[in-house]
Symmetry: C2
Subunit: 552 residues, 2 copies
């Protein structure tokens, strides 16, 4: 069943001058983001055409880039209208021929990225003061409607043709896997029987019926649609606490140097060992003066460590996911001067109400979530010269295990900061310390109350690291742990980590990655979807799907 | 990858005189339930031997039966000690050769049943006044430890050999799928790095280390183990509010009459249409006088409608799941006198504090949960002569859709009772009305406040049914809905329903069925587990597993 269409190595960096699929226009405080997908500009143009505003990973990488730039480069943008430039079509969802010809791993990681991007829109609404209004001016199906569902509000043109729908189950034998089912019942709180009916319609619902079912917030005849959208966009923009004008922070290219199996950014370095199936990932502490005021952060632009280091980390995590599927274990190190990290933390905390600093904290928060959700084993190694302090200690908390050498001669300490106290909640709404100490909440307070560094024994006692071998045992213990990990079934590890990392409450966000995605991944393995006669494979081709009707 | 070892039709009824794998002894208020699995008495004895107290579905059916009888037949039992009669082995978990030679659907439904049984133990602790103490007197691995995790407390003998462990990931390339990962981090609140390490050990942990990691509550040397267990069991029993002595309610055989594709119990009738892949399931209202006092419920024993009807419904749901995988849609009817159901509801509510009535309500609650978790589409049909009232209306609420005929001549009404107000919470802790009206909580109050019957239009307006066609449209609308359902991918429907049915909060229970089980089902489809060289297939045979190391 595994498809083998070769996917070219994916580059997650782009910029406005390279956009092919989206048109961004800014008018006062309202940005209009219009989808206009170029059919022949998919990532694998010989395998599929992106008809009817259907999308592939490349289209979504542009969207993610636009959102990131709206956050940082356009403080004057307070609301975004999402619409389409194609006549009578809003968006047909993820391209089926792309999905059908992609490997299982690519499908899963494509969905994960698109989910993160849509959750990023909700994150903007919740944290950045930027609201989203979907202005659906045509047929809006599957992933198209899921994109609309990620908006704060959905307006639909009532022209007898425009519709919203989730036709995946009846047409393709898979789930709407980008949060659709979850958002219909958990965000829009559609009644389950109405949602059940809706999710089995091939043609979706239009106009009044869409409003009555709560699938959209309002429907307007063509003659009044633009005006209603413009009016509501202004109202949404008026709710924002963003500044009325710039300057923003321009995001330049990261331009990593790639040499064989080494990728090197300014603060992040990755080195792949293919024989061991590991990646050694090192993130460096600031090596020069960093901004201490909000204005200085804006002036420093994308060159301040906090922005640059976490943009780089985000990029390398995405490359690992998509381009290096066989690299199962990531060995995480933080190096440099921990004091420099703690000083950045102080500045971030002191200026956290400022729009730009809020965005920097948001960037770090989303990058750490990306790490939580990356299906690779992470082992943090804490050695002399480490910079696992404050924000960088979150990397150790996000890791599946942290090993800290208990060295008799060399100083080796970690340190927490105020930023470990809740600035970077996980998808489930708790801080990584809270999740770690679910059974002993007092340990969170103890850890945060401790002022100053902790050596290996103190860190072990405080429950902050997994193991603290001495210098004699260190090499063997770490080597054996990494070798053992590399020998396990990668699937069992993925499932195990997805369960052990997310103790505690579940949220809409974790339900999308836990419940919805796990079921979708199951379906993406089933012959009824991906077999020769499966619904995903026969769609748009000759013949109808043939199902094995056994229920499980 | 689909295995085809024919599983004989499974019978879920058993009784003490037929037990082969468990020994129950009752001493005062403490029952000791000892596992002593007969190697050669598996459900498919030619395919596998149940060595080392490993279990198959038959062993678990006995366990579920024992638990049900403890609830009803033994009110004097206030605590249960779970232990093993095999020397140096507590339980090795689910039998691997059984799993390896079972179809995907059987694996999934086996795990679902065992999960429900273990959640039933926690339900007894929370609701029935019966606490569980696992007395681990030998090696306790995988499903064995998961059984212990379902107990309130876990005591381990510290003899240098007895251990607890979850070796599924390192040994079998699958997850501990019976709640193990979830309970380790969410119930016992083990730190995630310690849980990660624990879940990758083949040999488990012993004695002091098991206590320190919170994997067990206490460890005792052999010389003191029995005494410590006995003492703690007495303490747990002393917490109970169960009566000090009987009489209990004996559970006799259900003895359904099975003729071809019809199964008929006293109050439940199932009729399979193989061409349409449907099962028409009818549950009848009481047809004679029912108990109104707690004593009368005890005297009536297992013949009162509330017990009998829901035991029958439970049995038929389990048979459908395991024995009729191709029957995808269940058409649910309730027939008879709704007034008779409402009178039972009054009696249940009035006597709800009494141990026996509490157990009857619990039986209904668990059966309805079983329906929520059954991977079949349920359509309720509400026609003249229906008995969808109170407790039986929960069947309509549990269904994916309810159709109610709006008949001009015949009376056709539904009615709620106090029992719809929270007596039967779903796995997520909310009532079915609350989940239905997540977006409009006032509709819950309106529905419950309405005194008396509602006709089709009133029920539709109150949001209690999906559709109310008139008598002219009824046949076509219902027929087309059922035919459309039967044509969809069964896998997409399973995933869709698992997402749409459980809006709202998640609990340990829903995490086990949503997050954990969904991932396990995915792994159960992966070549790394079930392929020719997969870990589940090569275990205990020649050769080692060969993995495709690509992470997804």
């Amino acid at each position: 069943m595994e498809q083998t269409a070769a996917t070219p190595s994916v580059n997650f960096e782009t910029s406005p001058d390279q956009y092919q699929h989206w048109k961004l226009t800014i008018d006062g405080h309202v940005a209009t983001l219009a989808m206009d997908v170029r059919e022949d500009a998919g990532l694998r143009p010989h395998d599929y055409k992106l008809k009817l505003n259907s999308y592939d990973l490349g289209v979504d990488i542009e969207l993610a880039d636009i959102l990131q730039r709206l956050r940082f480069e356009h403080p004057e943008v307070h609301a975004v209208v999402l619409t389409s430039l194609k006549p009578r079509i809003f968006c047909a969802g993820a391209n089926i021929f792309m999905l059908g010809s992609s490997s299982h791993g690519f499908k899963v990681n494509f969905c994960k990225f698109t989910n993160e991007t849509r959750l990023g829109m909700e994150d903007m609404s919740a944290h950045s003061g930027i609201k989203f209004l979907a202005a659906i001016n045509g047929i809006c199906a599957g992933g198209g409607y899921e994109l609309a569902l990620a908006c704060d509000e959905i307006y639909l043109v009532d022209d007898g043709s425009a519709s919203v729908g989730l036709p995946e189950t009846p047409l393709l034998g898979v789930l709407p896997g980008t949060g659709g089912l979850t958002r219909v019942v958990d965000k829009r709180k559609v009644r389950r029987d109405l949602a059940d009916d809706f999710s089995t319609l091939t043609e979706g619902v239009r106009g009044k019926r869409a409003v009555e079912g709560r699938f959209v917030d309002a429907a307007f005849p063509t003659s009044k649609f633009q005006e209603a959208v413009a009016k509501r966009a202004q109202e949404l923009a008026a709710m924002s606490d963003r500044p009325t004008s710039g300057p923003g922070i321009s995001l330049g290219p990261l331009s990593p140097a790639i040499k064989g199996d080494i990728i090197e950014y300014r603060y992040v370095k990755g080195r792949i060992d293919r024989a061991k199936r590991t990646c050694e990932l090192t993130i460096s502490a600031p090596d020069g003066p960093q901004p201490t005021t909000a204005d200085a952060f804006v002036t420093a632009g994308d060159q301040s460590w906090a922005i640059r280091a976490f943009r780089e980390l985000d990029d390398v995590l995405l490359r690992l996911r998509l381009n290096e599927p066989e690299i199962g274990t990531v060995i995480v190190r933080a190096s440099g001067n921990p004091r420099a990290v703690l000083e950045v933390d102080e500045s971030l905390h002191a200026n956290r109400e400022h729009w730009a600093v809020r965005e920097i904290i948001g960037l770090i928060r989303r990058t750490l979530k990306r790490m939580d959700l990356t299906a690779r084993s992470f082992f943090a190694l804490i050695e002399p010269g480490n910079a696992f302090a404050g924000t960088l200690f979150e990397l150790a908390l996000a890791a599946d295990r942290a090993y800290m050498i208990d060295h008799p001669d060399d100083d080796n300490t970690i340190q927490l900061s105020v930023m470990n106290g809740g600035a970077y909640p996980m998808s489930n709404g708790l801080s990584r310390l809270q999740v770690r100490f679910l059974g002993e909440p007092e340990s969170v307070d103890h850890a945060l109350a401790h002022d100053g560094p902790l050596d290996a024994q103190a860190a072990l006692k405080a429950g902050l690291v997994f193991s603290a071998p001495d210098d004699i045992d260190w090499d063997d213990e770490v080597r054996m742990a990494i070798e053992a990990r590399a020998a396990f079934s990668p699937d069992a590890l993925t499932g195990m980590e997805a369960n052990l990392r997310f103790a505690g409450p579940e949220t809409l966000e974790t339900k999308i990655f836990g419940r919805l995605t796990a079921w979708q991944n199951w379906i993406f393995q089933r012959p009824n979807a991906v077999g020769e006669k499966g619904a995903l494979m026969t769609y748009g081709r000759e013949g109808r799907p043939q199902f094995d009707f056994k229920r499980t």
